[in-house]
C-alpha cells in the first residue's frame, strides 16, 4: 500500500504496465501502440504537473484518470481508430475502475507479447517494454545492444501483433500448451540474460512473471512450476557468485551462508509442485540440478552422481554441446578428472564450442587436476583468447598463473 502523496519505487513502471494491459483489453491488441502512447502521455503530464502542487494523494488513481481521459479524447477525435468505438467509449465513460483484475490482465499481456509467431528476441524485448514497463534505452543497456536495435525489435513485434490479429486473453484448450511453452521459453531467456549479466531488475521481473504464470489456475502447469523453481534456486546463490572485488567465485569457494534461505525454501516448494503430472521438461531437470547444489550442506557433500544423471537425462531432451560440457564437469567431480576428460573427448572438437571460453577453461582445470600443469596452462591461454567478461578474464588469469607456477 502506498502512503498518500508518496512515490514508491517503480510506481510508474508498475502502474504503466497495468494501465497498458487494461487499455489493450478494452481497445484490442491492434491498438497496443495507442495504449502505450496514452499511458506515456499520462506519465509525462504527471512530471509536468506534480512539481508545483505536489504528488496527489493517490498517484496511481491520478494516472489512471488522466490516461482514461486522454484515451477518450483520442477516440472521440478519431472514432475510426477503433472498430467498436461506441462500445469502447461507453466502457471508458463508465464510472468504476478502468483496471480490471491485475493478474488476468498482466497474464493476458504476457501471452500476447510472447506469442510464438514473434521472433524470440523480439518477444523478449516486447515483454520487457510492454509487460514490465522498461524503456528501449534500458532494454538496450541490459542486452548490450544499440537503443535503435532494441526499438526496432519492439516495433517489429508490435507490427506482428497487429497483422496477425492476436487475441487478448489467456489461451485455452489445445492452444494453451503451445502458447505456454513460448511464454516459458521467453521468461527463461529473460532470466538467463538478467542473471548472467547481473541485471537484477531484469532477473527480478522474470521471477515475478514466472510466479504469475505458475500461480494461475489455468495457465499454470508443472513446467511453469519447474521453471519458477529453477529461477528461485539459482537466484538464491546470486549474491555469492562474486567476491567484494567483483571477481568470480567458484562453487567451492562460495560462502554458502550467504545463500538466500527463503528463496531456496520457496524454490524447493515449487519443485515439489512441479512433480505433479507425468511430464518431464528440461526445466524440471535444470531445477533438479539447481536444487542438488542449493541443498548440499557444503561443496564436498554435493551429490555429483545424481547431478551427472540429471545432465545425462537433460542431454537426451536437449542434445546441446553446452549441456554435454556441464555433464562432463559433473562426471569429473563424481569419478575424477580422467572420467571427465573422457566425457570431454566427445565435444572437444565441437565447432560451436571452439570459441567458448568455458570449454577451454574446463579442459584446463581437468588437466591441472590430472597433474599436467603444462597442458592446463595451454588450455587456460586458449580460454583467455575467447570472448568473456572482465571478472571471467581475471578468473582465468589467476588460474593460468597457478598452473604456470
Amino acid at each position: 500500500m502506498e502512503a498518500p502523496g508518496e512515490l514508491v519505487e517503480h510506481l510508474f513502471r508498475r502502474q504503466s504496465a497495468r494501465m497498458v494491459a487494461a487499455l489493450v483489453r478494452i481497445l484490442g491488441p491492434r491498438h497496443l501502440q495507442l495504449a502505450e502512447d496514452v499511458v506515456q502521455d499520462a506519465l509525462l503530464r504527471a512530471l509536468e504537473q506534480w512539481p508545483y502542487r505536489g504528488v496527489p494523494e493517490n498517484p496511481s488513481a491520478w494516472l489512471v484518470t488522466v490516461a482514461r481521459n486522454r484515451a477518450l479524447d483520442m477516440l472521440r477525435r478519431e472514432l475510426s481508430l477503433v472498430e467498436k468505438s461506441a462500445e469502447v467509449v461507453r466502457v471508458f465513460s463508465a464510472q468504476g475502475d478502468l483496471l480490471g483484475d491485475e493478474m488476468d490482465d498482466q497474464l493476458a499481456l504476457i501471452f500476447l507479447a510472447c506469442h510464438p509467431e514473434i521472433a524470440r528476441e523480439a518477444r523478449l524485448a516486447l515483454t520487457l517494454k510492454t509487460v514490465c514497463g522498461f524503456g528501449a534505452g534500458e532494454i538496450a543497456r541490459a542486452f548490450l545492444i544499440q537503443e535503435s536495435a532494441a526499438a526496432q525489435r519492439i516495433v517489429r513485434a508490435k507490427r506482428l501483433v497487429r497483422e496477425r490479429e492476436i487475441r487478448f486473453g489467456v489461451p485455452e484448450g489445445r492452444e494453451l500448451a503451445e502458447r505456454r511453452e513460448s511464454v516459458l521459453e521467453t521468461l527463461y531467456l529473460m532470466f538467463n540474460e538478467g542473471y548472467s549479466r547481473g541485471v537484477a531488475d531484469v532477473r527480478d521481473e522474470s521471477l515475478r512473471l514466472a510466479r504469475l504464470v505458475a500461480d494461475h489456475p489455468t495457465a499454470g502447469a508443472p513446467e511453469a512450476d519447474a521453471l519458477l523453481a529453477l529461477m528461485l534456486l539459482q537466484s538464491a546463490r546470486a549474491s555469492s557468485r562474486l567476491d567484494e572485488a567483483g571477481d568470480l567465485l567458484l562453487l567451492e569457494e562460495q560462502d554458502r551462508s550467504r545463500w538466500d534461505g527463503a528463496l531456496i525454501t520457496e524454490g524447493m516448494r515449487a519443485l515439489d509442485r512441479s512433480a505433479r503430472g507425468d511430464r518431464l521438461s528440461t526445466y524440471h531437470l535444470e531445477a533438479g540440478i539447481a536444487a542438488a547444489h542449493a541443498t548440499a550442506r557444503d561443496f564436498a557433500s554435493t551429490d555429483w552422481e545424481h547431478i551427472a544423471g540429471l545432465y545425462t537425462a537433460l542431454l537426451e531432451l536437449n542434445p546441446s554441446p553446452v549441456i554435454a560440457l556441464n555433464r562432463a564437469v559433473a562426471i569429473s567431480r563424481w569419478q575424477g578428472p580422467a572420467a571427465g576428460l573422457e566425457a570431454m573427448s566427445e565435444i572437444e572438437q565441437h565447432p560451436s564450442l571452439a570459441h567458448y571460453y568455458l570449454l577451454h577453461a574446463t579442459l584446463g582445470r581437468l588437466w591441472q587436476e590430472a597433474g599436467e600443469p603444462a597442458r592446463a596452462a595451454f588450455y587456460y591461454s586458449r580460454a583467455l583468447a575467447c570472448e568473456c567478461s572482465a571478472p571471467e578474464r581475471r578468473f582465468l588469469e589467476r588460474r593460468l598463473a597457478e598452473s604456470s607456477r
Partner: protein, 114 residues
C-alpha cells in the same frame, strides 16, 4: 524576508523516457519543493496551462487581443514558485538546486513591496 518569484521557463523533456526515468525526475522536483516547504520558504506554486494564453494590446476600440505569447517563442513559461528569501543571493541558493535547470531556465524576480 522578502518574496521572490521563480519563473520556470521551457521544458525540454525527452518524450521517449522510460517510466522509471520519468519517475526519477518527478522525484527530484518533489524533493526540491519539499525542501523549500520544510524550511518554511515556499509561499505558493502553480503550473500554467500549456498551449493557452492571451496578450492584450491597446485600449477600447483599439484593443487587440492575440493568442500567445507561446506562439512567437519556444521559451514557454511553464509555471512559477513563490518563495521567501533573505536576499537575491539567498533566493539563488535555493533556486540553484532545482532540477528544472536540467530542462530549462529559471528567472528569479524579487517582489517589490510598495
Amino acid at each position: 524576508m522578502d518574496s521572490y518569484l521563480l519563473l520556470l521557463h521551457g521544458t525540454r523533456l525527452n518524450p521517449n523516457m522510460s517510466p522509471d526515468e520519468i519517475q526519477a525526475i518527478t522525484a527530484r522536483y518533489k524533493a526540491w519543493a519539499e525542501k523549500l516547504q520544510k524550511a518554511g520558504r515556499l509561499a505558493g506554486a502553480n503550473k500554467l496551462e500549456d498551449r493557452t494564453g492571451r496578450v492584450l494590446r491597446g485600449q477600447g476600440a483599439e484593443m487587440r487581443i492575440t493568442d500567445g505569447p507561446y506562439a512567437e517563442t519556444k521559451d514557454v513559461l511553464a509555471g512559477y514558485f513563490l518563495i521567501q528569501a533573505e536576499s537575491y543571493e539567498d533566493a539563488i541558493e535555493w533556486t540553484k538546486e532545482s532540477p528544472h535547470l536540467d530542462f530549462g531556465t529559471i528567472e528569479v524576480r524579487k517582489v517589490q513591496v510598495v
